[in-house]
């Protein structure tokens, strides 16, 4: 066999084909790869605004990669957080680049998320049968904003400290449960090392896990339902 056809894809490279055969003989992946969901082509009526979901996904992967790299030098303690961020920016080779991509990528991701959401909203794409996908999208929106909020504290600057003081103060305006929520978010009465530690944990473990799960759901649903028709 010197040609391999998987849906619309034709593979001629002998090395790739031998890898494919190796896996196929052992796991029988043809059945899965032949599933229709892998070969839906993008309809021709799609325009630039249909790309923003994918762009957001790309921004997210960029944030994961640069985030892991920042994690190599970042120290999540009140005494050293700021110094380690300064060290990354000024001393580590290309640290300015990695941190810059993470910082600006976060901002750009918020913009692309809202453009994507605007398109879905104004074209009425969220309507039946796609309500569930809208719901997962909202979960992803909340996660993205939580990423911004928790990530903002991590450099432990004046700006990030007071932003977190103000941000965690907001829920305390709620009657009865407000103060409990505030204390839960801060891990105490004030923004302290405990707050930094839990924001760090949420930023690097909880939210990435949640976002990856919901992105998978989001994309499976798109694949299952197909792209919605033109207006």
């Amino acid at each position: 066999m010197n040609e391999l056809r998987l849906g619309p894809i034709l593979i001629r490279n002998r090395f790739l084909i031998s890898i494919y055969n190796f896996v196929e003989n052992r796991l029988g992946i043809k059945e899965i790869l032949d599933l229709e969901v892998f070969y839906k082509l993008a309809p021709s009526y799609l325009g630039i605004f249909s790309c923003f979901g994918g762009i957001t996904f790309f921004m997210f992967t960029l944030q994961v990669v640069t985030g892991i790299l920042l994690l190599v030098y970042y120290v999540p303690t009140t005494a050293q957080a700021y110094d380690s961020v300064v060290h990354i920016t000024n001393n580590v080779p290309f640290g300015w680049l990695i941190r810059g991509i993470h910082h600006w990528g976060a901002n750009i991701m918020i913009i692309t998320v809202f453009i994507h959401m605007g398109k879905i909203y104004f074209h009425g794409i969220y309507k039946n049968p796609r309500e569930l996908n809208w719901v997962t999208g909202i979960v992803l929106l909340i996660c993205t904003l939580s990423f911004s909020f928790t990530g903002y504290l991590l450099p432990w600057t004046q700006l990030s400290y007071w932003a977190t003081v103000v941000g965690t103060e907001i829920p305390s305006a709620m009657p009865v449960i407000g103060d409990y929520i505030k204390i839960f978010l801060r891990g105490g009465a004030d923004v302290s090392q405990i707050t930094l530690t839990r924001f760090f944990a949420v930023h690097i473990m909880v939210l990435p896990a949640a976002v990856i799960m919901f992105i998978v759901l989001h994309i499976i649903m798109i694949r299952r339902q197909g792209i919605s028709g033109p207006l």
Binding site: L69, V72, N91, V92, P93, F94, G95, L97, I98
Partner: protein, 153 residues
Amino acid sequence: MSDEIIKEEVSGKDRRSFLNLSIFISFAVAIGGALYPVIKYLLPADSTKGTEGGETFFISADEIPVGSAKLVRYKNRPTIIIRTKENEVYALSAVCTHLGCIVKWHEDAKELLCPCHAARFDLYGNVLGGPAPKPLPAYKAAVEEDRILIREA
């Protein structure tokens, strides 16, 4: 005409293989360009260089009170400075010759003890007991005015 030039350049193959090669090269350049900063980032240049041998190292005498010891970096290796009397200091490599743990000074026993497998050394680095096969390298140390100096023995 131009077709022929291309044909010759890609060793007698056709337009397709030339284009494939171009795509491959552009991908390789793009991936290489993205990986270069990442590798540089993970291997910071400044921390791999140590200070070279033959030089002197000094530390303020106040930092090591009489009867105590301090771990410093000399020749980019962990080095222990022990001050037994006002004008008596000793400097030794702190890397145990057994499996490389950092030895500690025990003031009451007046010896260096390795916390890993209990090798014992005296102030000159000689092995007193335990599994260490060789003495610790010793350096010249002296108190000069308000500084403690170390140089190669």
